[in-house]
Amino acid sequence: MAIRIGDIEFGLNSFGDIATNDGRVMSDAESLRLLVDEAQLAESVGLDVFSIGEHYREGMVDSATPVILAAAAQATSTIRLGTSVTVLSTQDPVRLYQQFATVDGLSGGRAHLVLGRASAIESFGLFGYDIAEYEQIFEEKLGLFLRLMNEDRVTWTGQYRAPLENVRLHPRMPQGGIPTWIGIGGSPDSVVRAARNGLPLMMAIIGGRPDRFAGHAELYLRALSRFGQPELPIGQHSLGFIADTDEEAKNIHWKHWQPVVTAMSEERGFYAPTIDRYNTEVDTGALYVGSPETVSRKIAGIVRANHLSRFDLKYDVLHLPREAREHSIRLFGERVAPRVRELLDEDPGEWHLTGRTPAEIVKGGKAAHA
């Protein structure tokens, strides 16, 4: 189904955070099964995409992302299944192709990828890569992965994996591969790389004023134009939580967010969160926490400012109760998504920046080149 940029899409992202149930911490296995239920719920409330991250630490169960997506594929029939993000730097592009061709086959063409360099670094040590080389590794592996998707047989030599000699992988992806986005955390180089390769852009905005990424979006659009690429979608991934009222949403979310960010601040050496800073983050920063109306207004605003055609909400937080997760997903699909569409209809603002005719794209952001 071809859509035009501007048909805003909504995705749900999980990092496989372990949930609680009636005050009890769920096991890794229970949390994995919960993800499949949540993918099903996401579909039933009308969301467009369900994506799972890739992490290698305690409290997160998403180390084998395509395996989880395959289970979700059998539990759903229309929702697209993606990643948020796939740590391409420490994956083998050959295995990645095989795994996602399998998910795509199982799901009848619903698989897609967001490729990134990752913000967590555990995978480098675990799989024997040097973090100092992460830029070159990503560049090389992206090149290989795109060739595997676009070419029938590939002969390739590089530095970070064994050479390939006239290799044709199985199972096959559809001609041209599956929709593949580039996830960025703020590096302009990554923005330009996405544009140069003609790949849609997913901006992970997890703190600070999200509209500061408008510059990245504009850079991306200019770069696409310069590289002679068709206009492509821009998405944003941010953290959030929706409950019936602002107060309830903030209370529940802060309670679970605060210990996670405190631990992370010790590990990465930034300031521990305070309630004041948290409130600022919710009011004007990158946390999409509140009632459906509050979150809808905030999303509509950033869609206009950052020229988005997709907004992904990362809905899980370590030990967030499963009922709260479920309710948040329901509100996101049933209340927020329609309300954002309504607000954008009323006032599209500066949403369409370039004035160029947007390219026809297939659902998922792949250029159709019709």
Binding site: A64, P66, D104, G109, H170, P171
Partner: protein
């Protein structure tokens, strides 16, 4: 779980016998006779596993291959899909080519399948009977032994689900690496698939893993020494002698004739393609028929296959029999589904009956007693 079965070896009454179906994800033909796409072949495999679950087959195992004949190079991904759509069937690989994979990734993928299936995953580790995966993933075939030795050692360490410190030459070292997700049971059921190397049997016994014998040609009786070796080795090493499994190709239809005709043409294509790489002469119809008669092809009506299976199970005193039902290459998808159904509804109950009739009777020369 079979940990307590070690004392049963001389008086197996076959009441705990388990039956599996195995597939490599061969591309079948649709109702119009066209070979289906890879994606459709993967979905056909899922449909077959779902049916297997419905008709009470105990396990499904999916192989990993990197060749054009087979749709499955990522078995755990397919198993996860099957997990969602089934209730009780156990989900295994047949085999996971550990030598050319990373044991950490393999553990993560299987622990995930185990979670998604409520504890139904079992892994069958092997060196693989094909060699494509070695150059594809940058391994040297001359390191064949070393790769498997080191990787099975690391995988064994990971199975404890505690932080692992490990050093070797075939992957990066690990220092107190804690690998997630953890399983609910605390341990993944692990087999080693062995094609005929005594060394592999000893290794399996050493780690206390379960032994799955891949018997794809010749009379099953010639594998009896491996079963014996496994039991003696576990006794000497003080590890558990689990019931041994065997996996062999076959196909079931309403009549012997129908099964042979459905299976042979596609099987010959696959066998000759692989044979050309391994220096085998092309398959002749009479070789094929001889293997059906006295070798390791379990092809025919439910009764023919059941008799042959019962004889082999008795001869080798195994606790598990897996039928590779997809080895007929580009055969009809609906015939393949029907074979799975007949295996579950007819063959398995018949085998159980046959074995219950005369549990103490020893039979040798599997396949020679029928018709």
């Amino acid at each position: 779980m079979p940990e307590t079965n070690e004392k049963k070896e001389t008086m197996n009454d076959f009441t705990d016998l388990e039956f599996g179906i195995d597939t490599f994800g061969d591309l079948p033909r649709d109702d119009q006779g066209a070979v289906v796409s890879y994606a459709a072949a993967i979905r056909a495999t899922v449909a077959e596993a779902v049916l297997a679950d419905e008709v009470g087959i105990d396990a499904v195992a999916i192989g990993e291959h990197h060749r054009p004949e087979f749709a499955i190079s990522s078995p755990e991904t397919v198993l996860a899909g099957i997990a969602t759509s089934t209730e009780r069937i156990r989900l295994g690989s047949g085999v996971t080519v550990l030598s050319s994979d990373d044991p950490v990734r393999v553990f993560q993928r299987f622990a995930t399948v185990d979670a998604l299936s409520n504890g139904r995953a079992e892994i069958i580790l092997g060196r693989g009977s094909f060699t494509e995966s070695f150059p594809l993933f940058g391994y040297d075939l001359s390191d064949y032994e070393l790769l498997f030795d080191e990787k099975i050692d690391l995988f064994h360490a990971l199975l404890d689900e505690k932080p692992v410190t490990w050093e070797g030459t075939t992957r990066a070292a690990l220092h107190e690496a804690d690998v997630f997700p953890k399983t609910d049971s605390g341990r993944l059921r692990t087999w080693v698939g062995v094609g005929g190397s005594p060394q592999s049997v000893l290794r399996t016994a050493h780690y206390g893993f379960e032994l799955m014998l891949a018997i794809i040609g010749g009379a099953p009786a010639r594998f009896a020494p491996y079963v014996d070796l496994y039991r003696r080795a576990t006794e000497q090493l003080g590890t558990t002698a689990h019931p041994v499994g065997m996996h062999s190709p076959g196909f079931i239809a309403e009549t012997d004739e129908e099964a042979m005709e459905a299976f042979y043409p596609g099987y010959k294509v696959v066998r000759d393609t692989i044979g050309a790489l391994r220096g085998w002469p092309p398959l002749t119809r009479s070789d094929f028929e001889a293997d059906v008669e006295g070798g390791s092809l379990y092809i025919g009506s439910p009764e023919t296959v059941a008799r042959k299976m019962a004889a082999a199970i008795r001869t080798l005193d195994v606790g598990r029999f897996d039928l590779i039902y997809s080895a007929g290459g580009a055969m009809s998808a609906s015939a393949r589904l029907r074979a799975v159904e007949l295996y579950g509804t007819k063959v398995i109950p018949m085998v159980r009956e046959l074995l219950a009739e005369a549990p103490a009777q020893s039979m040798t020369g599997a396949g020679s007693s029928h018709e």
